[in-house]
Symmetry: C2
Amino acid sequence: MTAPTRQTAAEAGPGDRRVVLSIDAMGGDRGPGPVVAGCDRSARKNPDLGFILHGPEDELRALVAKRKTLRGRCEIRNAEGVVAMTDKPSQVMRRGKGTSMWSALESVRDGEAAVAVSCGNTGALMALSMVRLRKLPGVNRPAIGVLWPSRNKQGFNVMLDVGADVRADAHDLFQYALMGASYARNGLHVDPPRIGLLNVGTEEHKGRQELREAHDLIRNHAQNGRYEFVGFVEGGDIPGNRADVIVTDGFTGNVALKTGEGTASLIGDFLKEAFKYTPLSRLAALLALPSLRRLQKRIDPRRVNGGVFLGLNGTVVKSHGSADAMAVSAAVKLAFKLANAGFNQKVAAHIAAAAQVAEQAREDNAQGDGATTGEHI
Amino acid sequence: MTAPTRQTAAEAGPGDRRVVLSIDAMGGDRGPGPVVAGCDRSARKNPDLGFILHGPEDELRALVAKRKTLRGRCEIRNAEGVVAMTDKPSQVMRRGKGTSMWSALESVRDGEAAVAVSCGNTGALMALSMVRLRKLPGVNRPAIGVLWPSRNKQGFNVMLDVGADVRADAHDLFQYALMGASYARNGLHVDPPRIGLLNVGTEEHKGRQELREAHDLIRNHAQNGRYEFVGFVEGGDIPGNRADVIVTDGFTGNVALKTGEGTASLIGDFLKEAFKYTPLSRLAALLALPSLRRLQKRIDPRRVNGGVFLGLNGTVVKSHGSADAMAVSAAVKLAFKLANAGFNQKVAAHIAAAAQVAEQAREDNAQGDGATTGEHI
């Protein structure tokens, strides 16, 4: 193992010792209450969990005091500043020091915690993560990965990038595939994960040039990267069962994510209206309630709360801004899983190995060129 | 009016005379049966409708003979060839002559019909439409526009492009806005339509460079173009009520369309499973059936069947490949509406007017530059 000791301390193996998560208690739409409640909920289920909570000390101390389970498992770090949802990322980068978000990232940077969790402003969190944690060696663009309800047996697919960066070239997409494969293995226990590259058709000649290049890069590395490559997939496959990981650029991924959420919400509202239509349908709705709740549970975004920032020196889980205790607890559970699996070291190792393979291929090519053409010897 | 006489004959005003549509009877997944049945269904509701049906004469004649309503309102053009769903567009462009698809476009090209309708291969239909109908003067990239179930009072939004071309620059997006505005006015009777430009956030500084340029082009032309511009919109607004027309490039639009369809289908299946869970829920499902049918009706893709090819010399309505009689009838109804409104001439006039304004602005700028800098006089 070449990983620094401080990371190993934070990313302890199962049963070894406590896994510590760094929690930004502020910046969500509902304040620190649901954040502390969500940590408590997780702590009750999982004795290996410990927390460093970042925010105004007095306020947090009062909230934690009410939760017996958190006693002795929750350190509080005072940070008076709060990043607002309306703050611009560029401002936060300049003036963010002293905020709970900044402080939460510092704990990961310093190796005290393996993963940071925040309900705050996504753009600001990514910008701060980039400058404070820095990108993994060899990574050009970090990505945000999300879980998407799907027809797969694990119930979810991974999609990335959903908005860290609006552009991605072929090599970025290739790295997203590596990161997504690691995420599927460690977050969803799918091994080997099937990777699909999002396009407007499944034929190999379709789409933009960078997609065709990425197609070949991802395909050629499948064996070394321990994943299957199913080739191009379409929008309909995002909630489908052709692939476990959907790779795309942050622009397309962001639009797809919000289109899916908007469509689900529209259908939910249409369904409510349909059941209000007549007295009989209102009666039917009463009887149907358990079924509708089962449906609700399967597509409830709170159950899969957490976009994961990938490609940084440390993992950051971004919870929904409007997260309640249940949603925060889901984000904490995901963060624990990734910390416990030593996720970030694995991603770093995959990126490094792929870079080495690419370097070797370049050298082989250069030697091959020389041998066949007789030039540049 | 400067439009050629042959177009005026085909795009007659309401009550003036019969509106003739050119129908590709072949190439759909279910053969010509549902196509003829769909035409019959529309013809019974609308006495102004006439058809030219393209396909193998004997087969079509037998099908039409069973439909009294179509008698005397349906001309048959023999075309023995059929474009298969698996045919590559490039092959069809070279060898498509003699197919029903080719023949259906010829009737529009020759001014016998105002609009063509086909259930066939989308890529082939667009490729053939480009070479046989040709692009409208000033149009660089044609687009495919679709109707999308939404929270709007008209029940649908227009989105374009959903896959005619994977790329679009700022000027293409501007032209999509003009075409989409015309479509919303003539197809949905929304006046003035509200245009939104799809992006990853609503702030003006967000997204790619071409989007910021398109933003200004669309905004500056709003008054002349008789639309409102609501600025950037997000994926969640595609089924929302912030805009009536969603403008995007064909790659993003195609992914969004298929993601929305896939999500709706996934939720439908989850709903069915939820209702099968217990004996009580199966009883609830029986009672809930009318409500679920009401929901089904609101999001049934057959009710809004028809992607419209925009930016060509003639309108082409692309029906779903798997369309049944009801879906074909919906596509025919849309084609009639657009033909009856003289839609294509209106689009052409808007594109021409916008080009004139842009030319004028360039001239003014050139003169202005000269006056202020003292150069280039």
